[in-house]
Symmetry: D3
């Protein structure tokens, strides 16, 4: 299995609800350094997993919807705790849809799985990984 990974980052504000979060219930923020891993069993005709330029651009677009925002104010996250693991899945789902929509090019039809990792500090990270829906590979 081949994997290619590209890195970007985003900077957001948010707060959490629930005793378990302690002081993180207050409005605070985070830098998330984001690793997007794209997987497929065979390379395309150019010898690539994916056009890394398109992958980086598509990731940047997904992150720009969240970047420099207070996530507490975004409609889609109402009533949700935007934990690092939750956000990893959000980026996973949006990248999956982008691949299905052809944003990473025709060659990206061969991708079979993704992993999205958000590093929140030098001490902690969270990720979400899964197979791409077959519709993305139609």
């Amino acid at each position: 299995m081949y994997t290619v990974c590209v890195r970007d980052h985003l900077m957001i504000a948010h707060s959490f609800r629930g005793e378990v979060f302690g002081p993180a219930q207050r409005l605070h923020g985070a830098t998330y350094v984001v690793d997007l891993e794209l997987r497929r069993p065979e390379l395309d005709a150019d010898g690539l997993v994916v056009d890394i330029g398109l992958a980086g651009t598509a990731l940047a677009e997904v992150l720009s919807e969240l970047n420099y925002r207070n996530l507490d104010d975004l409609d889609g996250f109402s009533g949700k705790n935007t934990t690092t693991e939750f956000l990893a899945r959000v980026v996973f789902e949006r990248m999956s849809r982008g691949i299905a929509a052809g944003h990473l090019g025709e060659t990206a039809r061969g991708l079979t799985a993704l992993r999205v990792t958000l590093h929140e500090s030098h001490l902690a990270w969270a990720s979400y990984e899964g197979a791409l829906p077959t519709s993305a590979r139609a």
Copy 2:
């Protein structure tokens, strides 16, 4: 699949037995930077893989049994080479028992797998990963 990782470290002395170890047969030591990855397929009601505070505390407690020790003197390791990979499994087993004992809270019942990685230098690391025994998820 979701993963959350927390990082800590320990500093120990030890020696190895066997020709294959060369100069590492002498008493020496190591800093191990330890990454504990915790996995589960769905988030809990708070949007978490695990209470990261409890996970960090439980990891620190497991490491404190080894930290600032000469491992050659510890009863449990008698006749064993405490290699990096061996120690990764030791931490894995002790964390598994801690999860089963409820040290990471009720929500940790949903954890299905762990990975423990020990970085011994900028050039080498070792890890042990496996499913959690079903008893931990009873």
Copy 3:
């Protein structure tokens, strides 16, 4: 010249005022990984630059005043842009006062300079460095 460095981090929300900041004028946030460097020309009687335990505790206390906060709401920062470089100096000043007040122990009287670096992402950091006021070394 000897230097010892200890690392910690903080997670805050804030916003900036001024055209130059573009989208960062919106409320957002950051994780700052903080490196505190402490310098002196000679070691103390124990062979140390400073008691690293006390240094880490004092740094954590300084950071706790800012951690999990919206900096826009803190009195001391009213009318200020809490940029990475600005915050590096804030931590520098508070650590300097802590050293003068003896929070790092008597041995810390030998410290002659500090540097505080805040890493805001994998792509950017800022620092402030300077001599300790002689009163700290009285």
Copy 4:
């Protein structure tokens, strides 16, 4: 499952063919920081995944065939784009053959899988992973 990883690097020149590569169609180069992960379900009698010294030497030998070369001039790569993912597989295949030939010692017969990761910058990496052919474990 146990994993041990050793790190090395190589520095090469090459060029790519195909519109997708943009300016990378010109002759340029890269430093690849190479991580070789070796996996097996149980440790050997010494408590090891593999003799890390032999693993490092074998990896260095494989890399030396490519290091300080213009890959465009090497016979084996004629008509191929030597992308990061392509090169990860090249190193994987050569390490697999070396293990089958006994270059990592008898104990390496217990290895069941490898992963080779090439980091091309602070922003991107690619890897190839797979099971070792059963002949390597005969």
Copy 5:
């Protein structure tokens, strides 16, 4: 003294002349991860060392003159060994001229020194640092 650092990278081919270089006399290449540090004693009216967006753009422009090139073919480097330390100075000089020409904005007039570091692998880096010519601060 304040410092702000921004990071970028470039990928080049080159060869060296001289016995001291051994196999690096052959055409090969490198990824250089580039850190640009900008220094000044006081912040500007916005609380900044420099407009980090302009600094990043100016650095990218300087690197684009070298990126995806065989340095052996560039006129300016004829008869020179384009070692890591040599290239660090090249980037330093070009950034200095860009600052003098106003590419980093009026506020950059307050910058008093630069440091440029090129990381060539996980094992080695080189840098060039110096005061900015007073003409840059006129």
Copy 6:
């Protein structure tokens, strides 16, 4: 000013004497990742700060005197606390003597300063830096 840095590491056991060290008074150990920085104002005729191959070999030789040792048993350290900062100076002094003795070649006569940094974990490091004695540059 130019700087070149090479990295290596060592793994040792030791213990400390003094209340300030707490549990580190017990026999334990550390991995030190060692950065050796070499400085000079002008490059040599080859465009180098120093022959990086000779620098790496000389550093490895200095570290080999300590590597895989219990420092408590070494004559030179009798009655000393071999703290990270103390060891940074030990490596500095031995490298300085090696440069004066010509171990880094004739070109190394142009070196004017060194810095030695020992990283003991992901959270702490110590360094010693200073000018080279003029005898090294005779």
